[in-house]
Amino acid sequence: MTRPVTLLLAALLLAVPLSLLAGRVWLDPFSGLSYNALIILTELRLPRAILAVVLGAGLGAAGAAMQGYLRNPLADPGLFGIAPGAALGAVLSFWTGWAASGWALPLFALVGAAGAMALLGLIAGRTGSVMLFTLAGMMIASLAGALMSLAISLSPTPFAMSEIVTWLMGALTDRSWHEVVFAVPLTCAGIALLMLAGRALDALTLGEAAARSLGVDPARLQWLMIGGVGLTVGAGVAAAGIIGFVGLIVPHLLRRYTDRRPSSLILPSALAGGLLLLLADCLCRVLPLASELRLGIALSLLGAPFFLALLLRMRRGLA
């Protein structure tokens, strides 16, 4: 086990129990837990912590794999159009009124993600071309974004519009075991697919031609990426809405502590993504605001300056 992995695991083991205590109502583990406190712990905070860690892990791993696949430190899982596809599905569930019934919202979101994945596979075909794949992803993201805007503008009621806009901000507020049940296995399966792609991503460091000469099958790699990013990002959006920047920030922060091979970055990024989302969610819970800060907004507020700093550093490097 590498040093970053050990440190991140230790940090997670420390952060998870602490996160269970933090919130509008602080729990004191030393004075015995009341029935209400136990309910808060088991029905609200524990599933929320599990979701934060797992979804963050999925986004971190997807970001590391995406950056390896596109050979670009500015790549983000959102680039493939899968997150907008999933969000479009979720928006349609609000639009049609199905969102109110149990499984419909995540199901619609997962169908949206699957639709984006299928379209991506269909357009990119068996070429394995990274450029074609990226352009197809951007087209899907743009199309899904436009359809989402259309759905919002044609909302049947102001209430539905408000629901959609609030949901799109991304949050773990009021999430329960209901979301854990589908999001955890799907995200774990996605991370496993991304880790399977590790060796091929390493080879891609040398460019597409050299990677092919090292035995990489570009079409197989493309499917692993579609499956891995689709499952992690799709499950994330289905459970929590759109949460950006984790996939961009985390791999970038950790790269210097690895030997820089994409495969060596996936696991640390998963652990750090989980840790970041857990801490950000705790911060949202404890900030003294009239209503809880949405997680998606908090991470965007954190991520945008980070992205800018990254661009400025790149500009200095080019000067």
């Binding site: 460091t205 040398l206 092919r212 091979r261």
Partner: protein, 244 residues
């Protein structure tokens, strides 16, 4: 062991190219810009599928070989020395072991041998971004050597090397051929080709214009016909210089 091409055709790049290369030889592929040298090398490496015809390894079409089997047999060094992430020289060479599942010890031994062969021991921890052009070219070649291929195909491997390192590299490749590997190089320096290659394939507008030992494939007449340059060879065998 042979690596060959049967009627390879690639629109606008190659036209009915057939040849059979032997292991244990240093073969140079030469020709003017746009003659199809890199395309031919890519087809022989199995990473570019021809529109018609086939590349074969020991009479087996490359397209029928599992990618990893092909990768273990044929090491390919592309013209563009891309390294997307700032790997250390050691990690970079280690990428050559990706097609193998030989275990950590075997991988380490192969990487060590490749680094030693290219005099990169002292630079093993240096990052790619901190390497000079020549060091980077050697590190990329070390990646190919670490894969212990039976065939080494390199597209302009001398391009970023100073004269001393060019000669050292050619000597290393000659030694590799002496150990039974096939070495196929795309080269532009005709004097280096004349002095160091066992066999020369001259391409002109996608077709084989000459194929044979350097003395005949790179005769003054061939140079005039293919490169449209009047030139004269000076000196004795092994120490030839081209007077243009």
């Amino acid at each position: 062991m042979t690596l060959g091409a049967h009627d390879l055709t690639l629109a606008g790049r190659l036209s009915d190219v057939s040849l059979s290369l032997c292991a244990g030889e240093v073969t140079a592929i030469c020709g003017p810009n746009g003659a199809g040298k890199s395309s031919l090398l890519s087809c022989l490496a199995g990473i570019l599928a021809p529109q018609s015809g086939k590349a074969v390894l020991d009479d087996r079409p490359l397209a029928d070989l599992p990618p990893r089997d092909r990768a273990r047999a044929i090491g390919y060094l592309p013209q563009q020395g891309e390294v997307a992430w700032d790997l250390s020289v050691e990690s970079l060479a280690g990428l050559g072991r990706l097609p193998w599942d030989a275990g950590i010890e075997a991988d380490r031994a192969a990487v060590e041998a490749a680094l030693a062969a290219l005099e990169l021991d002292a630079l093993r921890l240096r990052r790619a971004s901190a390497l000079s052009g020549g060091e980077r070219a050697r590190a990329l070649l070390a990646r190919v050597l670490a894969g212990e291929p039976r065939w080494l195909l390199a597209d302009e491997p001398l391009a970023n090397l100073d004269l001393a390192h060019q000669l050292a590299l050619l000597a290393r490749l000659r030694a590799l051929a002496g150990q039974g590997a096939g070495v196929v190089l795309v080269m532009h320096d005709l004097a280096q080709v004349m002095n160091h290659a066992d066999r020369v394939v001259v391409l002109d507008r996608g077709r084989v214009a000459a194929d044979g030992p350097p003395e005949t494939a790179l005769s003054e007449a061939v140079i005039e016909r293919v490169w449209k340059v009047s030139a004269r060879w000076l000196g004795d065998a092994g120490q030839r210089a081209l007077l243009v």
